[in-house]
């Protein structure tokens, strides 16, 4: 009589115990899979929302007079546009989503406006890939096409501009791609064009005066953020310096810590509850099978075979629970996730590697949870049950 046959026959006999144990494993796996499947979307969503608040790092030429920078709102110095590419070759740095920009106050139509040029692609450190620039200064819209501009609220209102109008901007004819909603910031007096157009209009071909960036969420909490940023900029781009918009940085960090703490609480609690659940069920199973264990002992079954009966069953529960939990967790993430993470909903997709991890971890988890009951079964004195009359 093989141990495998014994395991399957016992499962078929005590279906409720098996189903409840399976439910425990599947629940644990489903929660993990659900969290991880939506976790990436959550991170992207946080990044997107934070980016929509505005980039929180501003890299400017080193010689910039910071008093004038804050008074003007931009650096009066410029630097070569290709400086931004130095970040592409770097890995594990605190800068991400780097975007070259050139901006200057100019007189136009009898008023002061800020003309801003934005590169069409962001630089992602550690990758030769470039990400299309989709969000512009907290506003909707895709990358700015050459020959088009986004017009700030106050300008559009004063000049009664609307989408599709053409304007003469410093001698060039530009089409209004969008008139932006009121922002309550200097964006309301800004005209945003592509970097190429802005460089041409301002006579600064190949030059930028700022690299906007997001601070990576992956840094070590113990290290002071601005110190690390300054150390890194010294290594990557010594011709520049960095300022950090503390309010935004703090908000981003608070958001990250909140999510991390939430997961750090919910996941271990889930694991412990499910492990206890499996352990109790396994202990009940051992009690139910005392007589069987006793007779198997009498028939010459050793401790190892008895242990395999219980651990094998636990491993089987783990494998089946992993598959069911993966399906349930993924289904839940696909069904509920888009409602929570509206901006990055399309990015929520099944993660096949989680099935592999579940299949590796869940049987071990179930076996570990059944360890004490198994030891109880193995060390049980068969004489006690066999003597009972």
């Amino acid at each position: 009589m093989s141990v495998v046959r014994l395991i399957f026959a016992e499962i078929s006999h005590r279906k409720l115990n098996f189903l409840l144990s399976l439910l425990a494993v599947a629940t644990a796996v489903a929660l993990f899979v659900g969290f991880f499947t939506t976790g990436e979307a959550s991170e992207r969503e946080t990044t997107r929302l934070m980016r929509d608040m505005g980039f929180n790092l501003r890299i400017v030429p080193k010689e910039t007079d910071m008093e004038r920078f804050w008074a003007q709102g931009y650096s009066e110095q410029t630097m070569p546009e290709e400086y931004v590419q130095r970040f592409a070759a770097k890995e594990n740095i605190s800068y991400t989503h780097l975007l070259a920009a050139l901006q200057k106050k100019v007189a136009w139509q009898g008023r002061q406006i800020i003309l801003t040029g934005i590169a069409s692609q962001e630089v992602l450190p550690g990758s030769e890939k470039k990400s299309p620039m989709k969000a512009v200064y907290g506003q909707q819209g895709a990358g700015i096409q050459p020959g088009t501009v986004y017009v700030g609220y106050e300008i559009a209102k004063a000049l009664q501009l609307k989408k599709g109008d053409t304007i003469d901007l410093l001698g060039a004819t530009m089409t209004v791609a969008a008139c932006l909603a009121e922002s309550g910031s200097d964006d309301d007096i800004r005209i945003t064009a592509s970097l190429r157009d802005a460089q041409r209009l301002l006579g600064e071909e190949g030059r930028i005066n700022e690299i906007k960036a997001l601070e990576c969420l992956c840094r070590d909490e113990k290290v002071d953020s601005i110190d690390l940023l300054r150390t890194q900029i010294e290594e990557i781009l010594p011709e520049a310096k960095v300022t950090q918009l503390r309010v935004i940085a703090k908000t981003r960090e608070s958001q990250r810590i909140m999510i991390e703490k939430y997961l750090a609480f919910i996941l271990p609690v889930t694991v412990i509850v499910c492990a206890a659940w499996i352990g109790v069920l396994a202990m009940i199973n051992v009690r139910d099978r005392r007589e069987e264990i006793g007779i198997l002992r009498a028939l010459g079954y050793g401790s190892l075979r008895i242990a395999i009966l219980f651990l094998g069953k636990a491993a089987l529960i783990g494998v089946v629970g992993a598959v069911l939990g993966y399906l349930a967790g993924t289904g839940l993430a696909l069904r509920v996730g888009p409602g929570i993470f509206k901006v990055t909903a399309s990015g929520i997709a099944p993660v096949a590697s989680l099935l592999v991890w579940s299949l590796l971890a869940a049987p071990g988890f179930a076996a570990l949870s059944s360890f004490i009951p198994t030891v109880t079964a193995v060390t049980q004195d068969p004489a006690i049950t066999l003597r009972a009359e």
Partner: protein, 223 residues
């Protein structure tokens, strides 16, 4: 075959120590049919389990076929038991989720093979259980359950059968049948030790020992 050398077994309870076996010295010859009788608590079951390597004595030695059972490691003792000893219990102790045939195949402790399966079927035939081989224990009468347990004990042709009150849960007719079956195996050369309250096995016994308070009180050879 079985040798008990000054074997004692003491249970420690809240109320103090209980001597289940108290310096028992006993020799059971090969091919003997031994009946062990005595009142409840006299140490009969403890003696039987000690002989089967299931219950380590507090002191003394138990030898089966010349091997000291409790000098062996647990794994070696389990393997020895699987090869040499078959158990039959009052409560049958059949595994409830296995069929009759599968319960029989649990015996002998070695891997399943076609030969073992054929042997199991032959045993069931001999015990008039062939037509019940695919039934579960819950579908059997008490007598059928005990015959299944005897078939299980006999699989692998052990040379020693230890039966603890095998008729305790049976009506007189089934009890008689069970003892007859054990006697048949004895006639085939198997050593049989039967622990019982009553006198039902006496007429098959080569020897009867009476236990009282963990000691052999008297010994008789019927006929």
């Amino acid at each position: 075959m079985i040798r008990f050398e000054d074997v004692s077994r003491i249970y420690r309870t809240r109320r103090g120590e209980v001597k289940a076996l108290d310096g028992v010295t006993l020799y059971v010859e090969a091919h003997e049919f031994l009946v062990v009788r005595g009142p409840s608590g006299s140490g009969k079951t403890t003696l039987l389990l000690a002989a089967g390597g299931m219950h380590r004595p507090t002191s003394g030695r138990v030898l089966v076929n010349g091997d000291d059972l409790y000098a062996m490691g647990p794994r070696e003792r389990a393997a020895f038991r699987a090869r040499n000893i078959g158990f039959v219990f009052q409560m049958f102790h059949l595994v409830p989720y296995l069929t009759v045939l599968e319960n029989v195949l649990l015996g002998g402790g070695v891997a399943a093979s076609r030969a073992r399966r054929e042997e199991a079927v032959r045993l069931l035939e001999r015990l008039d259980m062939r037509n019940r081989e695919s039934h579960k224990p819950a579908e059997l009468s008490a007598g059928e359950r005990q015959r299944t347990a005897i078939a299980r004990a006999m699989l692998g042709r052990p040379n020693l059968i230890l039966a603890d009150e095998p008729t305790g849960n049976l009506d007189p007719e089934n009890a008689r049948q069970v003892i007859e079956r054990l006697s048949e195996f004895h006639r085939d050369g198997v050593t049989v030790v039967v622990v019982t309250h009553g006198a039902i096995a006496d007429r098959h016994a080569g020897r009867i020992i009476h236990l009282a308070q963990g000691r052999i009180a008297r010994e008789a050879r019927p006929g």
